[in-house]
Amino acid sequence: MNNVLKSLFSANARQKVLAFASLVLMIIVFAILSPNFFQMDNLISIMLSTAVTGVLGISVTFVIITGGIDLAIGTLMTLTAVMSGVFISYWEMPIWIGLLGAIVTGALAGGISGTLVAKLKLPPFIATMGMMMIAKGLALVISGAKPIYFTKYEDYNQISQGSLIDLNGVVPGLVIPNAVLIFFGLGVVASIILNKTVLGRYTFAIGSNEEAVRLSGVNVDRWKIGIYALAGAIVGIAGILISSRLNSAQPALGQGYELDAIAAAVIGGVSLSGGEGTILGTIIGAFIMSVLINGLRILSVPQEWQTVVSGLIVIFAVYMDILRRRK
């Protein structure tokens, strides 16, 4: 049995194909089990709930490929949302400044995590765990532990909930929310950065053999900080998406999202030991997570059990990763 599994998972590409196949299989099974699953509004709702986790997954994919981990993304997302609220609601600045504020906040926090890892040589787990708590605390302090509402600014809600692609006339109900478009667009951009630019090349190279990269004359520390900062900026985008969807920055929200995002990346074939992974894989992984949760909910499985099943899926995916590396 082990050997069969091993040969099935010998290549990263196969893992991706397999992840995709299991996603399709899950969709088919749920569609058969429940007539409600394949309704257009349910499918849209799945996409919408995938968007935030998916964007966070894209962020953490960069960090995991370097051989690191980022536990701060969940609460940092909240902090960036709060910052957006501070700029827009408190200081009544234009919306675009709020968006920029969220992204810059994310990039700064990511850059600090990256500096802790690269310069002070803290293990990424510890550095980002510290950052997770700092971001959580700051979000509460800045907001006074109260939600910041964007209700006065209708455009803000449109960032996530509006739709540039309204095909209601063609297919009834097919109104793809902007959040989903931003998620996919970001996926394309991130994929290009990862595969076509120097930053992406060093992301893989550092995860594969950091010392070799250093000895090749590359300033590894600087690139690492840059990669963490980029990941942080992407978290800022997630912060915008979630606050726009809720029409408010909820300072108590956020913790736990990082685990879903990491799980999505791992399910999608990003190797926790670094050097391997794709954005497409992570996106598929994020969909697997949300289709599963959505499907179980439609089948009236209690939420507690949904969480248990997600946990099993993550353990299974990491075990696949181990089998794959053992070769």
Partner: protein, 503 residues
Amino acid sequence: MAENLLVRIEDLNKAFPGVQALKGARFELRAGEVHALMGENGAGKSTLMKVLAGIYQRDDGNIYLDGRPVEIHGPHGARALGIGIIHQELNLMNHLSAAQNIFIGRERKGRTGLFLDENAMNKAAAEMLASLKVDVDPKTKIGDLTVAKQQMVEIAKALSYESRVLIMDEPTAALNDAEIDELFRIIRDLRAKGVGIVYISHKMDELKRISDRVTVMRDGEYIGTLDTEKATMDQVINMMVGRPLQTYVRSEHGGVPQPVALEVRRLNQGRILKDINFTVRKGEILGFAGLMGAGRTEVARAVFGADPIDSGEVLVQGKKVRIRIPKDAVREGIGYLSEDRKRYGLALGMDVQANTVVATLSRFLGLGTFLKTKAMTAVGAKYIETLSIKTPSQAQKLKFLSGGNQQKVVIAKWLLRDCDVLFFDEPTRGIDVGAKFEIYKLLQDLAAQGKAIVMISSELPEILRLSHRIVVMCEGRITGELTAQEATQERIMQLATQRSSVK
């Protein structure tokens, strides 16, 4: 002074915490010469060359390039000065392709300057590899190549910087004969083009074949430089060890043949081990020779139950035994002393006594819970005495002992478990010359006491010196078995590079 002096290093000092690695080291390199750098482990060769390659910063001393003093700032600075280095441990990224590895740190970009130009890099890499006559597709992932091919990629990478000084640290350690010939052809081509090559190696025959001059270091100091043509092997070795060569006493296995202590039959493990058969008798030292990656360590680990096997039988004292996990092996009296004792053999932060008794703790329990301190002290004292472990006390932490004494503590640990069959994997790796001889003596004493010893070693003189019989491996199979009388370095190397004709 010669006109074409490329590099001159004078009075170089470099200290690491606890060690003065270089003491007034000197070296010079002409353009168009292959200059061998020799010395025992820890003599400072690699450190000196890492200073030249910008990986370490010197404490003081001077480095001249083309007669001008230079400061070398990091590997990048060294490369800008035309100094390239190929490390002993390959410095490649397994998940990246050959071309991506070659161009790491100076990626070619398209016209916009934003995106990588993968095609240009693949094409250029293909040309570089072709000029070395190396058959590697630049798009292949490094992790999918053999070690020899990986090394060729590393050489191509170093050359691609148009280095005028090329440092090679034990480049042939993992190559077979044909690959070594290929490497030497490349080195000669480079020499003809005026590149100065520093060649670090332990292998005498290679020095004769490839080098023009040889410089010997010992204990971080410069000892001397000779023209290779005029130098004799004994001369070089004398300079290296700092004393006349010890007479070469072969172990003779006297008297009546002893009973077989361990027999391994038709052992197979995936593509790693194929049809392994061998026996070792009581009182015998069986040497396992072969190149890196030949599968010697894997045999030991498989017999010891550390890795799962596909098929095969193990007989201890003529009785068939089932070994699935190391615990089974220990129960049958088999011990394995890892090549990496710091990782697998010792708890460096604990003291001598704790390390000695750690594998036999159950014997030192009173009422099933409490440690019998007195008994442990007695045992610790006994082994410090019998193995002459040099330590101020039993309470000394292992990390403060020398490599040789650490190794003795590992041996004590296994002796205490009453092992009759002991696998020694590279028993003298990282141990200085003096202590090596003590370990040799210890192995011979253990054999004389009736232990069966399997010794895996990459150092041929060590194998030849100690073994009663020698098994040679290549690519996961046993390619031959030699008695102490038949064995020579040449004969062993021949078997160690004898690849299977059928794939």
